[in-house]
């Protein structure tokens, strides 16, 4: 339930500008999906909110305060490496709970961890298994369970279901949506990075499309409770189909522009090499 404000947010990796003036304000309780091409800065934006990258304190505010580093108020779910492989899946949840609820004893932690294991539709028998012995879907469920168990008001999910098969991914999308919707007025604010337009349409209350790096937001769309697509209407509702086409076109245009830009760069390099070789020949 935290508000996130980005005011002309800029960020560079080794002097290379990745984000160039991102302006956006996510109201508390929103489910924001971020779409964009690979390398456009979606994950960077999420890492900035998560405090894993340093931002200008004036350009990024969470709940009105600058972000100075990671916090238990901002739980993260990564695409991989979400769980520590040397701990059992259950221990992975418990160690997170230990940091958040310092006065809880081992039994309290286990009780809450098991509750979230059940909420995520996992078998309790998996609690004592190592991540190595779990499927990709089960691992992501445990990582999601850990994030929800922390009860962080802001949840940051970086392509969490990107590496899963379609069925597992769909099941997890439904679970996350259900858990988020269940909290009603105390809903967490979720930032969710994805490559999939359909996933964004299904989950988001707000969709952001980032342009090519150095990127800024090139398109936004907000749903109301009434207009928010559901899985049943995802492929039948004309308004949703129209929006999907629009989003796909925006992304395809970006791909075409990127391909053109790369081609131009390649041509420039070839021209300059040719010029050099001609000069050398003349000399």
């Amino acid at each position: 339930m935290l508000e996130v404000s980005m005011n002309n947010l800029q960020f560079s990796y080794d002097k290379e500008l990745v984000l160039d003036g991102v302006n956006y304000k996510a109201r508390a309780g929103k489910f924001v999906c971020i779409l964009g091409l690979s390398g456009c800065g979606k994950s960077t934006l999420l890492r900035l909110i998560g405090g894993l990258e340093k931002s200008n304190p004036e350009q990024l505010l969470v709940d009105g305060k600058p972000v100075y580093g990671p916090s238990l108020d901002r739980a993260m779910v990564f695409q991989d490496y979400g769980l520590f492989p040397w701990m059992t899946a259950g221990e992975n949840i418990c160690i997170a709970l230990k940091q958040k609820y310092k006065t809880w004893d081992k039994h309290q932690r286990k009780e809450v961890a098991l509750k979230w294991v059940n909420n995520l539709g996992l078998d309790e028998e998996l609690y004592d298994k190592l991540p190595l012995n779990l499927s990709g879907g089960q691992r992501q469920r445990f990582a999601t369970a850990r994030a929800f168990a922390l009860d962080a008001p802001l949840l940051l999910m970086d392509e969490p279901f990107g590496a899963l098969d379609a069925v597992t991914s769909a099941l997890l999308q439904d679970t996350v949506l259900e858990l988020w919707q269940k909290e009603k007025e105390n809903r967490k604010t979720i930032f969710f990075v994805t490559h999939s337009v359909d996933e964004a349409l299904l989950l988001a209350t707000d969709i952001l499309v980032l342009g090519q790096a150095p990127s800024k937001i090139i398109y936004t769309h907000s749903f109301t409770e009434e207009t928010k697509p559901r899985r049943e209407t995802l492929y039948t509702d004309p308004a949703v189909l129209d929006l999907r086409n629009r989003l796909t076109k925006i992304i395809n245009d970006e791909i075409a522009e990127k391909a053109y830009r790369l081609h131009e760069q390649k041509m420039n390099i070839t021209d300059s090499e040719n010029n050099k070789s001609v000069k050398k020949h003349i000399a």
């Binding site: 894993l52 990671p70 238990l72 739980a75 993260m76 490496y81 520590f84 160690i95």
Partner: protein
């Protein structure tokens, strides 16, 4: 019993083949000199008479080995973790680590004897040094190469430093650290032999050295076999510990 045969059958078979080979080369066809390579049966007959001496040597050697190795383990892992985590310290310390670790430890024997008040202290120092450099090097490398995502995962949980060290950094670095520990253990054994060759009055290497001076190669052979058996046993225990620590990796 069946499980032992199933698990270790091939290993036992190789051992038996080596033994048969030795018997054929000595008793069978007398290819090897019986003075330097005595009959295995003659060697085995010596066990009852020398068993107490061998075990007294084992006790003395283990005291030196365990003390030095444990000290090296603690010092090298603590220092290696610190250097691995602090890039500034690493930058400044690496040239010196490279320089000092390149000095062959046996060459430092005269210095050790001169600097330390007793033979035991000098021996422990030499064994410690041999193990220390290897474990230090692998620990620095292991900590440096921990996947950044594990550290970020710990950061998002706001894990306190000490807990992060024991629950994230050391487990993540443990596969590589344990490789170094294994090499260091073998080196420690070799260094033990060097250390026991001066000033010692008992020990496994001392036993071999002492009877070699009297050209009692049957007892030298007995000393070799006993040392090999101890080494195999210690490495077996070490492997068990290693497998326990690395139970979460694919190969375990």
């Amino acid at each position: 019993m069946l499980k032992v045969i199933k698990d270790y059958g091939s290993i036992i078979l190789i051992g038996v083949c080596i033994l048969i080979g030795y018997i054929l080369l000595t008793d069978g066809f007398a290819v090897l000199s019986s003075f330097l390579f005595p009959s295995i049966f003659d060697v085995l007959k010596l066990i009852p008479e020398y068993i107490n001496q061998l075990f007294a040597g084992l006790k003395s050697s283990l005291y030196l080995l365990v003390t030095a190795y444990v000290l090296a383990l603690v010092c090298a892992i603590a220092l290696g973790t610190l250097i691995g985590l602090k890039s500034g310290l690493r930058k400044n310390a690496t040239p010196y680590i490279n320089a000092f670790s390149a000095i062959p430890v046996p060459l430092l024997t005269p210095y050790a004897i001169n600097l330390f008040p007793t033979f035991k202290a000098a021996s422990i120092f030499l064994i410690w040094l041999a193990a220390f450099w290897v474990i230090l090097g692998t620990t620095i490398g292991a900590v440096m190469s921990i996947d950044k995502r594990y550290l970020e995962n710990a950061a998002t949980l706001e894990m306190p430093r000490l807990e992060k060290l024991f629950r994230v950094i050391l487990p993540a670095a443990s596969p590589a650290i344990l490789v170094g520990c294994s090499v260091a253990l073998t080196l420690s054994f070799m260094m033990l032999a060097v250390a026991e060759m001066f000033g010692a009055s008992s020990g496994m290497a001392y036993f071999v050295q002492y009877y070699s001076d009297f050209a009692r190669f049957d007892l030298v052979m007995l000393g070799f076999l006993f040392t090999a058996a101890v080494l195999v046993f210690i490495m077996y225990i070490f492997d068990k510990i290693k497998h326990r620590i690395l139970h979460w990796t694919i190969n375990n």
